[in-house]
Symmetry: C2
Subunit: 301 residues, 2 copies
């Protein structure tokens, strides 16, 4: 299988939200010029159209004009619609030898289904969710966790390398999503620790900034502590990563766990606390807003 190199590859891109916009911009800058794109709200795609992207009216048309179709949308139901819809979906227009790369964090079972449908058309697919958030997307330093055929992964490496710095091949279709689930499970409980540690420090009357300095030097250190604790102290709940998306991810992880007969009490607790946060109106905040759920639980204003 030939590599999909800049200059000779016709790129398609579906979903130009916060993540997608940055990612596609990197692809264009690396030489994957004049991509064909589709997104629900055309206005959001305007900056990309200004960079030479051609907007079409359906995912099907994206597929008809592309050798590689990247998709990064919100929820599994969106993935299902843009990729598998029989009338307008990518799969309805895809050509032989083309590759679908779904970079949405979505369901492993859906990734396997897409892989089978693509194969029926003589095409290929990878599930390749990312971690690193908006900042990683902007800086082109995302971590990619890919499942699918290894040969296909190798063929799209130059393209993935435009967007990410750590490209991980994890095995057959669905394994990219499973790896991302493992990642989200790690983050979920870690964030509980961050907000509980901060709440304790505050309630004990400590200088919380000093506590942060002290504990960051040792065994309590984590990416979450470094990235989110300072924002929490400033009461900055702007989204790097949306609460509602994180809840979606944890929902998938819980469902998958249950299907595997796995009881993960930490993940369950995290999901409960974040569900509570959404009930309080926190869906559009960043994940660090978890402290609001703990404050409510403790009647702290």
């Amino acid at each position: 299988m030939k590599q999909f190199l800049p200059g000779t590859t016709r790129l398609g891109f579906i979903g130009t939200g916060v993540m997608g916009k940055s990612m596609l911009t990197h692809c264009i800058n690396k030489g994957y010029v004049n991509p064909t794109i589709y997104t629900r709200t055309k206005e959001k795609a305007q900056p990309l159209i200004d960079l030479g992207a051609k907007f079409v009216e359906t995912p099907r048309e994206v597929a008809q004009n592309s050798d590689v179709i990247i998709c990064i949308v919100g929820y599994p139901k969106d993935v299902r619609q843009v990729i598998l819809d029989e009338k307008d979906g990518v799969i309805s227009g895809i050509g032989k030898g083309s590759v679908i790369i779904d970079m949405t964090t979505s369901e492993p079972s859906l990734a396997r289904e897409i892989s089978e449908k693509a194969a029926e058309k003589g095409a290929h697919s990878l599930d390749a969710p990312v971690s690193g958030g908006d900042i990683g997307a902007r800086n082109g330093t995302l971590t990619v966790m890919a499942g699918g055929e290894e040969e296909v992964f190798s063929a799209v490496q130059p393209l993935l390398a435009s967007m990410g710095k750590a490209l991980n091949y994890m095995g057959p279709a669905g394994n990219g999503q499973h790896t991302k689930m493992s990642n989200q499970i790690l983050i979920a409980t870690c964030m509980i620790g961050v907000v509980e540690g901060l709440l304790y420090a505050q309630k004990a009357g400590l200088d919380v900034e000093k506590v942060l300095t002290a504990v960051s030097a040792g065994a309590a250190n984590s990416f979450s502590l470094q990235s989110y604790a300072p924002r929490i102290l400033k009461r900055d709940f702007n989204p790097g990563f949306y609460v509602e998306h994180f809840v979606k991810d944890m929902g998938i992880a819980l469902k998958e766990s249950e299907e595997m007969g796995l009881n993960l009490p930490g993940l369950k607790l995290a999901k409960q606390l974040y569900d509570q946060l959404i009930e309080q109106g926190g869906a559009k905040y960043g994940t660090q807003a978890l402290i609001l759920a703990l404050e409510k639980l403790n009647n702290i204003q």
Copy 2:
């Protein structure tokens, strides 16, 4: 207040377990020679006696022969006994102007009590628990979190610097312990995430080593993941930090939280899971053995 410098300071040391032995060795090497020491089991102190330490039969005698008395023992009840016992405790033999430094992870309220008793004798005290574990103790890179009079903290800085690299003054008596509690709360839930993330990856049939590589590069990274996940994969449950000591710490943190009217569900869950691990016989394992509790919960052999 004068600084307690090597050469002119008579050092006392109580508790020469895994941590204490390394810490006192550093002090001796930095010039705090011929300390007076006490520990429950004299045989354990032999390597230090070989380095010039003078063994005495009671904490009281340690105090009688020392300007600064460092204590690092197991549980708050041990701290109470070696420091506050009216007949044989440090407080019964301490001289005016001397300083007690309790480096055990213990109760904030006990730290305040020691501070008051020391003041009655014209002496001083600091609560100065550490993080960094056996490796930090061995390398002299501990993080110290100190509560007490700031002037006293300054006076013993050269001594603390023999054992630790990050010396944090956190405020009045008890605040060192409170900071350590915040630290332990952070670690507790983070470790749940590590073991649940690994279990999920394993159950999903992923190559867990590859998952570790992938997730360590991004937002799921933490000291716990870096330090403990590789040991878990090797089924290495040797103690860096004993389960039974961690459970003690979480017990203190929970009690303090309750006294402050603070409900911390993540900490509670961690305590429950670690209690379960002790029931399974894991008290003398390292904290990474938490995976055994999760495996049992899921009937995984």
